[in-house]
Symmetry: C2
């Protein structure tokens, strides 16, 4: 089965808003074995909406439109759909009651204009909206489906899950999309592709997509199949072979964020962590505390921008700052070791660098960052030169710091190659 | 003039990628007085691309397509466009030379397959690509324009700026879009709309869009006009009237971020700042240091997650934590005052709260945050209950903290109502 998605709304034709409902809908449709073949955006103009609906219905088995179901004059999709399919609009007493009830619950009188939302085309099924007033509509014509959903993402998602998914599943046959995902940190895209292209090119029924973001690469594997169990075996084999080829660079095959993987490693090892940051300005602490329950492993952090505070807060000797410079491996290690001792945590992380755009020198250019991890025995330190602007340099530095913590636990503390403990 | 934008690429029909090129293109086209009436996404299929190009060219004066200009078999837009307009593709020696030259510069041999990118349809103009190998194409048929641009955003944006904008400006007549923007913090959308709808509804030629995000609202004003100077007067009058109605809640009419406004206020007042955060985990420090040059006003910050560190690092008396609880107005004030004294900064900010999802109690529910601003005289403190998940609570808390700093400087330090200094 093929689907097309149409977002209705003039605000989606401005530079400020992008249609993200279609990403959710695509993921859900794919799970049901329905492929999305086109997406489009039209403004709140009767003839444009009608034209878009007519063309999409002629091409696809399922057309899903979002938006334009509100109570105002601008909300046209209900009218246009009825008109296009030659159906009369009639007020549905059950739907009207549900809307009135909803207003009662929030302690307000239903405005007259909201009665429009109870208009349902002949032969259409109204889809209940548990998160708002606008009901959705499910319409059929000549074996094609036209499904109208409200624009606000929380309303659309709840309605799809409760009212649409099951109905669609009954029609979509037994072809399904099965997916796997690997997330990788610590290697460039070209190296990654060189290592894994001999693998994925052999799997002709699996669509492989490599998405590179700063400091991270995602590998998506997708297959369409009527034999979900059979393809699951194939995909798992692919995941295993790719994981072998990329080794410890793969940080998850379960869809977790790098923060979550690090949080789990700290929790599993009953370890605690603290941070002393300069150029990242608190970004590492912020990422370590994004995960719920972070107070179990995160003790505290300092953002010691000034040299005085580097000494006062985490005991970085002033003479090291003077002799080596604030951006140096020695200061990174002193930050990591100092914060670890001050907080009594298992691990300490220190970051110092030049985020830019100013402050670079020929010896210490913008993008140079030193990151250290201290465990009370042998500290690890990495000096890296990140490309990009201030935001990107800071992000990549925090990504590398998290990855250093992840790798520390990969071999088990004390079992790491080169560690003395 | 009307334009349609088509993004070509099967990866844009997956749940992972959204077409953002169209946002850039829309902003640029609008500046030239060209309205975007539809947007669409098609996969890498010859018949789908052809169908989309044909329909869009029949409807719009200008059609801009992005993607599908690479050297591989999947890259079809060049071929399809030539075929659709009945033009022969011929290898263009200048373009071929430019591609070879680009490969030479990066020290690589041009692969045979890249020669495809030098194929130019009869009568088309090749658009030089300074950031990649794929040239763009400018084609005309029956008074309609078809412009093909490469998919990578940096290539597309550079090519539009250098090769497309000026050529389009010559055709787009003298109608232009003129815009203004106001950014507002510290009031709910419903209050805002109540205050300003009596104003903006009077301006029938100006399109007003209100975009609400957590902790912030943007008001966009847009007008299409042949008389840019005349409408500028009208828009400036609107900005002034809306600014009067919303008073100090408007934090900029110049498009700056809240971080930048706060950075400017600190710099102008030669003031410094430091932070002591608990539930925001470093987010406030991170936002204060996003702006280049932040070392001029940001001295340092601590993330004192544990109660011990609240006392050890910023001298919060243990008995206050015990009697009032870690999440209390008293602890927020002690954090703000303590960090200010420890760093010697002009201002100190303290944040403590329950970010969730766990840790809430009936008295101190998830979302409750206390934020204090200390200046050595009268501290200010606000207790707020933010809706939403952990990420949203943390964001709104940092937004409120930044806003408290902004408002502190609005009346000039020492001149604030209620201040004793």
């Amino acid at each position: 089965m093929k689907a097309e998605i149409i977002a209705v709304g003039s605000e989606l034709l401005t530079p400020d808003r992008v249609d993200t409902n279609s990403l959710f809908l695509t993921a859900e449709l794919n799970k049901l074995g329905i492929e999305v073949t086109r997406k489009g955006v039209v403004g709140d103009k009767r003839e444009d909406i009608r034209d878009a609906f007519a063309l999409s219905m002629a091409r696809a088995d399922v057309v899903i439109a979002s938006g334009g179901l509100g109570p105002t004059e601008d909300d046209l999709t209900r009218d246009v759909a009825a008109d296009l399919l030659g159906r009369k609009l009639e007020s549905n007493p059950d739907v009207l009651l549900a809307i009135q009830e909803r207003f009662r619950r929030i302690g307000r009188q239903m405005a007259e204009v909201n009665a429009r939302q109870a208009m349902v085309p002949e032969g259409a099924t109204a889809l209940e909206n548990l998160k708002g007033t606008a009901p959705g509509l499910w319409m059929e014509a000549d074996g094609h489906l036209l499904i109208l959903l409200p624009g606000p993402p929380n309303e659309l998602q709840a309605m799809f899950a409760r009212q649409v998914a099951e109905r669609l599943a009954k029609r979509s046959g037994n072809v399904r999309q099965v997916t796997r995902e690997l997330r990788v940190v610590g290697m460039p895209e070209s190296d990654l592709d060189q290592r894994i292209s001999p693998i994925y090119t052999k799997y002709h029924d699996v669509q492989t997509t490599i998405l590179a973001a700063p400091g991270e690469i995602q590998i998506h594997l997708r297959a369409w199949t009527a034999d979900a169990q059979g393809i699951a075996v194939v995909l798992d084999e692919m995941v295993e072979r790719i994981s072998m080829a990329l080794a410890e660079n793969v940080y998850t095959t379960m869809g977790e964020s790098l923060e979550e993987v690090v949080a789990n490693a700290l929790t599993l090892n009953a370890a605690t962590i603290s941070t002393a940051e300069s150029c990242t300005g608190g970004l590492l602490a912020e990422r370590l505390t994004r995960t719920p329950g972070s107070s179990n492993y995160f003790l505290g952090g300092v953002v010691s921008y000034s040299n005085e505070l580097k000494s006062a807060w985490v005991d970085v000797p002033a003479e090291i700052i003077e002799s080596r410079g604030a951006v140096s491996p020695e200061v990174a290690v002193a930050l990591a070791d100092g914060i670890r001792r001050r907080t009594g945590s298992t691990l300490g992380v220190g970051i110092t660098g030049v985020a830019g755009p100013a402050g670079g020198t020929p010896e210490k250019p913008v993008g140079l960052v030193h990151i250290a991890l201290a465990n009370g025995a042998t500290p690890r330190e990495r000096g890296l030169h990140f490309p990009g602007d201030r935001e990107r340099v800071r992000w990549q530095a925090s990504q590398t710091a998290l990855d250093m913590v992840r790798r520390y636990f990969l071999y088990g503390p004390g079992k790491r190659p080169g560690a003395k403990t």
